[in-house]
Chain length 253, copies 2
DNA sequence: CACTAAGGACCGACGGCTGAGCCTTTCGGT
DNA sequence: ACCGAAAGGCTCAGCCGTCGGTCCTTAGTG
């Protein structure tokens, strides 16, 4: 019994059942509370909000986020209990990112199972962003990214520091496009990748090679060569994918 | 008075205020009802669900979508009132996509204002997908896409038909990656673009030129050349962007 | 004519989110 | 030493969307 019937056979050869599965896929939207925990937690874990950073006051932040203060507090309390935030009361107090972040929790097994999808999503986001960044990056932005790449050179032995600067580089590319939406997309994708990347070993040689790719991407930005930027980014993403492929469980069922 | 204070100045040169704005941007998640209307409405308008298509029975569909039947019905009723769906009762009845779709509603002015962001999002999604598709497309998938491109050749005078086949091509690329998430992303981005594309004129020469780009992308899939696919897709997206640029209001404030 | 598969309608319960008010702590200034 | 401002901490009533049942109506099929 077919789940769906075409009224006529028009354009039948152009239709595909695959895309219909996605049309009828579950719609599950996160609650405001969950989304807030997610956003702030990811920003902290990615180093976008470094330890010691003071968050805006609750009354101010809930306005920016467009949620009620009670809801925001639920999220802040959750992040406090998980060790990401500390709060101090009284005048001059506030909510601060913890100096000692909790160890990264291992990602849920279903997220690990879907690692290839996550890599695909990364490919889909990063390559286009690299092209746009190459088209638009200002001299200042390029210079800033060069500083990041240079700084990474001295972090090849310290993976957490490397990874944080790596995230800065990729988010910096998104910022160079001038489109906030893309910064958000990049942040999400980097957050999703972090859990996977943390699972595997990172010898300095691998990090050095990755940073060499960063440098080639940067070079493409410098001369505003979109195709070259895309090409190098494809290589960069595939490199990560290949490394993961060696250490992950078999393909998804 | 700074909204946010760094505890120390560590890594200050790597920090950027731009990305923080996105961290604290509003979190507004759609309700299940809204998201359902959106999903089904977009699928219908894009031609993914052609006129006359019978949707799965309500009791079945709400299970697939992971929502209650009452919620689904709200969405179906809304789409019925807007003329996208018709329902017939009794055994053998069901909910069908209307044979005569309502005229496309003009997009809200704020969506038009943000047209450049939408194009950027498209670039970000499409280029990576083109690269992945080039890596993975099977011979069957390539052949299917070729049929679409060939069929488009005879639609250069009929814009609605052209646009529908165009959407099939781009979604077909996403399907060729084998990652459902990317099909969803592509569907969303095509839905967002449709409103903009409808605003402007489309002489056959422009459509022919666009389809020539389709053909070059296809050629890259055929020989599994990811970089070429990305390159041609960049051109393709930029072409649309340039056409829009001529007819849109000035840059965003 | 009975059965069945479909849409159509209703309602009570629940949970998340809102908005507002009030308390407590701490610092700066007078 | 006091007061006021600025912050987090707490509570509660109410709204709205969602759930998940139950029952009705319609219309083909055997």
């Amino acid at each position: 019994m077919p789940a769906l019937e075409q009224g006529t056979s028009r354009a039948a050869s152009l239709e595909s059942a695959a895309s219909l599965e996605t049309v009828f896929a579950p719609v599950r939207s996160l609650t405001a509370f969950e989304e807030t925990v997610d956003r702030l937690g990811t920003a902290i874990r990615l180093g976008l909000l470094p330890p010691g950073t003071r968050l805006p006051a609750e009354r101010e932040l809930c306005a920016k986020l467009g949620i009620a203060r009670s809801t925001l507090r639920q999220a802040l309390i959750a992040l406090g209990q998980s060790g990401h935030l500390r709060a101090t009361r009284g005048r001059g107090g506030g909510t601060f990112v913890a100096e000692e972040l909790p160890p990264a929790a291992p990602p849920p097994s279903d997220a690990v199972e879907a690692w290839r999808e996550t890599c695909d999503q990364r490919m889909s986001v990063e390559v286009g962003i690299a092209a746009l960044a190459a088209e638009r990056a200002s001299a200042e932005q390029t210079a800033l990214l060069r500083e990041v790449v240079d700084a990474i050179e001295s972090m090849l032995e310290d993976f957490p520091a490397y990874r944080q600067a790596d995230v800065r580089f990729h988010i910096g590319l998104a910022e160079a496009t001038g489109t906030p939406r893309l910064v958000t997309a990049m942040t999400e994708v980097q957050g999703a990748m972090t859990g996977l990347i943390d699972l595997i070993a990172h010898p300095p040689e691998v990090l050095a090679s990755a940073n060499a790719q960063h440098r080639r991407i940067l070079e493409a930005l410098h001369v505003h060569d979109e195709v070259a930027a895309a090409k190098e980014m494809i290589e960069h993403v595939k490199a990560t994918e290949h490394i993961l492929a060696g250490l992950m469980p078999g393909e998804e069922a």
